[in-house]
């Protein structure tokens, strides 16, 4: 060992102090930007709210209250009154409590729709990327077909085929994401297949399975994670849209922002806040996920690396 390389090694050591993986590095870079922090704060508050809302809701969101019902007429929905911060909804339920609990339902739908979309998309894209050839061609033509139908139309047709329930919404929204994730992973895997380190691993006789799962997949998953964050935003909006169109949950009592928005549409002249608050909530949360996802995408993009 020469003096030169020893010195060099020492220098490298000092540089690598507190050794971090690439992912950690990307995370650190992400949260240097104020936009990312804003996104994270919104998402964080939303998730916390979703978890604790059943405990902090001042009233039971699934029960009509007689004091609200008493003043409820077709042309008058009670506004704020003592104990009921935002007054009543059209059924004499506590609107504020329903709004809080709605966070949970919305998060639930968004997360599960995205997870299912990611899972199915990754299976399709992973198979296509790992095998190539005719497997790739067949699977990609399938995703092309899915992509050729406008996303909301696709979700509406799926939701219309299935009985109206919360899972119908989740599955319908998940299907929107499937072709996107499939293509994304497949593209990244194909780029990996011709990469130097995969060639090097092949030259070492590493098994195909190991190459796919250890060398190709982990290197391809970054864009999928970012896209998943962005998809959460659209999933929440799409789920709301389905509920709004009446294709979602047949149980009108469920406190879900999209459903609340849909049910409020005939009452815009009577009590506009019934539509206003769920709509604002959906927008803010979607914005939060979008900000977070976009800044993650930017920081993971090698072109933006400093």
């Amino acid at each position: 060992m020469s003096i030169l390389s020893t010195r060099k090694a020492e220098k490298i050591d000092s540089l690598a102090e507190g050794g971090t993986s690439l992912a950690m590095d990307a995370l650190r870079r992400t949260f240097r930007s104020p936009v990312a922090i804003l996104g994270l704060v919104i998402v964080g508050l939303f998730v916390i709210l979703a978890i604790i809302s059943p405990f902090i809701a001042p009233k039971d969101p699934y029960r009509p209250y007689p004091e609200l019902k008493a003043e409820l007429t077709p042309s008058n929905i009670p506004g704020p009154m003592p104990g009921f911060l935002l007054g009543s909804d059209q059924n004499g339920y506590d609107f504020f409590s329903r709004l809080l609990v709605g966070a949970q339902q919305t998060l639930f739908v968004g997360v599960f729709a995205t997870l299912i979309g990611v899972a199915i998309g990754m299976i399709i894209g992973g198979l296509a990327g790992a095998f190539g050839g005719w497997v790739d061609s067949v699977l990609m033509r399938l995703t092309d077909i899915m992509l050729s139908v406008p996303s909301l139309l696709l979700a509406i047709s799926i939701a219309a085929l299935l009985p109206g329930s919360q899972w119908t919404v989740i599955i319908a929204v998940a299907m929107i994401g499937v072709p996107v994730f499939a293509r994304l992973l497949r593209g990244a895997m194909i780029a990996q297949r011709s990469s130097d380190h995969v060639l090097a691993a092949t030259a070492l006789g590493v098994k195909r399975k190991t190459i796919v799962f250890r060398h190709m997949l982990p290197n391809s998953i970054g864009p999928v994670i970012v896209q998943a964050t962005l998809t959460l935003a659209t999933a929440i909006i799409d789920a709301a849209a389905l509920s709004f169109l009446g294709l979602g949950d047949s149980d009108w009592r469920r406190a879900e922002w999209g459903l609340m928005l849909g049910n409020a549409q005939e009452l815009l002249s009577v009590k506009p806040s019934l539509a206003f608050f769920p709509a604002i909530a959906i927008i803010v949360v979607a914005l939060g996920f979008t900000l977070l996802g976009e800044s993650m995408r930017e920081s993971l993009d090698p072109k933006n690396r400093r």
């Binding site: 130097d196 060639l199 290197n219």
Partner: protein
């Protein structure tokens, strides 16, 4: 009995809608156990394609391989994918050009070494880790135990190339193919890596095929040198013969274009004129003819054969006259 015997290797790239492209044509050479053989040529001369063909790493579709590659009585070109995978890494190792991209960025260096040991030498994870640390120590990485848990991006190019050499030699292959292993490194590191490589192959009696465009590397390392041009071998000679009396005008031109320490002051370098794109087809004549100072009519009309001449193999109608020498020590 040669360790590796390449006979009439040809690689033709075929693609719908384009003319087939012959990247390697009738390449024959052999490697004895423990020998170091150089494969020299400029970009596009077919040297890297030759090495990929030997390893069976060319794409199945699009690349048509002919000829034969015998490795210890086994014909490599007809092996099944699975048989080939069992041999790669165990009997045949390879070090690639770019150490920065040849390691998987998301897994630790330790895992990338132990993976090969587990695969080919049937070691347990624990044994493999001990062996991996030893390997890293042998290629001159300080504090090998800690390196095992570090990621490639924490290391410099030279260190990564050391890691790659450690991985390639992990299963003590009988033949190591090094495809321009120092091109991506700076000059001081190049020298370190080359001396490391030559030490290791002589210690373990590994045969080495050194692929390079740098005659300086060849001068310091190889027993035998094959000079390639346009996909064919144009001159093959022992190291000393090649540097003292290069006969092919291309080899001669390459040597002339390198700055020499013992050259008279102010003597200009003589580059080879033209570029590879001026080549004519080998079927038509000598591919080098358009760039060759010695070219005569016969070079344009008749393809030269690879013939024994003066203790070497030479593919030329008008070789450089004897006595026009460049000494290897000066490189």
């Amino acid at each position: 009995m040669a360790l590796l015997d390449v006979r009439d290797l040809g690689v033709v790239f075929k693609r719908k809608g384009t003319r087939p492209f012959t990247a390697v044509d009738g390449v024959s050479f052999s490697v004895e156990p423990g020998q170091t053989v150089g494969l020299v040529g400029e970009s596009g001369s077919g040297k890297s394609v030759t090495s990929l063909a030997l390893m069976g790493l060319l794409p199945k579709r699009g690349a048509e391989i002919s000829g034969s590659v015998t490795f210890e009585d086994t014909e490599l070109l007809t092996l099944s994918d699975k048989q080939l995978r069992d041999r790669r890494g165990r009997d045949l190792g390879m070090v690639f050009q770019d150490p920065l991209s040849s390691l998987n960025p998301v897994i630790t260096i330790g895992l990338q070494i132990t993976e090969v040991l587990e695969r080919h030498r049937g070691m347990s994870r624990k044994e493999a880790r001990v062996e991996a640390a030893e390997l890293l120590d042998r290629v001159g990485l300080p504090d090998p135990q800690r390196r095992l848990d570090e990621y490639p991006h924490q290391h410099s190019g030279g260190m990564r190339q050391r890691v790659l050499i450690a991985i390639a030699l992990a299963c003590r292959p009988k033949l190591l193919i090094a495809d321009e292993p120092t091109t991506a490194l700076d000059v001081t590191i190049q020298a370190q890596i080359l001396s490391l490589l030559s030490d290791l192959v002589s210690e373990t009696d590994t045969a080495l095929i050194m692929i390079t465009h740098d005659l300086g590397i060849v001068a310091g390392l190889c027993d035998n040198v094959n000079v390639m041009y346009g996909g064919r071998i144009v001159e093959r000679a022992a190291r000393h013969d090649l540097f003292e009396r290069s006969r092919h005008p291309y080899t001669h031109g390459l040597l002339q274009s390198i700055p020499r320490l013992n050259a008279p002051r102010g003597e200009p370098l003589t580059p080879i004129r033209g570029s590879v794109s001026d080549n004519i087809e080998w079927e038509q004549g000598c591919a080098f003819a358009p760039r060759c100072p010695n070219a005569t009519d016969v070079c344009w009309s008749e393809p030269p054969e690879l013939k024994a001449d003066d203790g070497r193999m030479l593919r030329c109608h008008n070789p450089v006259a004897l006595g026009d020498a460049v000494t290897e020590g000066a490189l």
